[in-house]
């Protein structure tokens, strides 16, 4: 793992990895959509609205997964000064924010016909909204400082402190009396939903995970190159000054 901390080595690996991740991502998402929309049965209580689950649940999983990996990356960046840690956290944040937004939006679209309300200040919904604000805060902090290193450190502290929200989201449905249904897939006793619904859900989740990997690699490469360009610009100014002096 440590040998891929070298940006040049990471770049070479990323070039090879992108097509191997992008095609399976497209395939899994297409298959997940097909199975979710046309192949899986309607729910006996919720009817056809249950099809929203194939977008909503994998988005929620991704929102939590990305935030957790972001926090770990930030912690390793602060403690071990890993060269790619802050870059990977910064690259992941907008992807996580998009998945969280998608989770909130699809949840709202699912909630209206089932609960009769677009939004309720329920523990699960509110904690996910806080997660969305944490993502936005992380992105904003990165842009709030002229010195990128200070921005990175401040955003890393926010990401680490914000990790407390992840178990709150996961267990909110158990700890409090909520309108949101309890977990039915990620349970110690095993999934409670039928395989005709579980497989499309897992396929979609795999597709979202692969999609995340592709965008993460792309964004990491962009951020690394941006950093290099900043250095090159300084060199360029220095070279111009030297040429003019001579």
């Amino acid at each position: 793992m440590k040998k891929y901390a070298n940006p040049a080595r990471f770049n070479r690996l990323a070039t090879k990895l992108i097509p191997w991740l992008a095609w399976p991502a497209g395939l899994c998402i297409s298959l997940g959509i097909f199975l979710g929309l046309f192949n899986s049965p309607p729910d006996y209580q919720q009817g056809e609205t249950v099809r929203i689950m194939y977008i909503h649940v994998p988005s929620a999983w991704m929102a939590l997964f990305i935030y957790t990996t972001m926090s770990i990356a930030c912690a390793s960046g602060l403690v071990w000064k890993h060269p790619l840690a802050h870059i990977s956290a910064r690259a992941a944040a907008p992807i996580g924010a998009c998945f969280t937004f998608l989770c909130l939006l699809t949840g709202s679209l699912w909630g209206k016909p089932m609960w009769g309300a677009w939004w309720v200040w329920d523990a699960r919904l509110t904690s996910v909204l806080i997660l969305f604000f944490l993502y936005l805060g992380f992105i904003a902090l990165h842009h709030a400082f002229d010195d990128p290193a200070r921005g990175e450190r401040s955003a890393a502290v926010l990401a680490i402190v914000g990790i407390i929200n992840v178990p709150i989201i996961k267990f909110s449905v158990d700890w409090w009396n909520t309108l949101h249904q309890p977990a039915s897939v990620l349970k110690l006793s095993g999934p409670e939903i039928h395989s005709t619904m579980l497989y499309p859900l897992l396929i979609m989740a795999t597709g979202f995970m692969l999609y995340f990997s592709v965008i993460l690699i792309l964004r990491m490469r962009t951020l690394m190159l941006e950093r290099r360009i900043r250095i090159m610009r300084i060199n360029n100014i220095y070279q111009t000054a030297t040429t003019e002096k001579n």
Binding site: L37, L105, V214, R219, T242
Partner: protein, 61 residues
Amino acid sequence: MALNLDLLSMGNYGIYVWFAYSAAAIILFSLLYISIRKWRQIRAQGEILEAELTHKIGKAE
């Protein structure tokens, strides 16, 4: 035809289901498009700067 209408109406919940899937497609495609465009822009900038810098260093030497 009837099957198509059934599929579209989704038991009268079509608007919610189709909107959820469309929103997901728009968000995921936009993120992919923005990421690729940004990568290409930065790469082009990098190439221009590198060429400029090589030229200047050559001149200075």
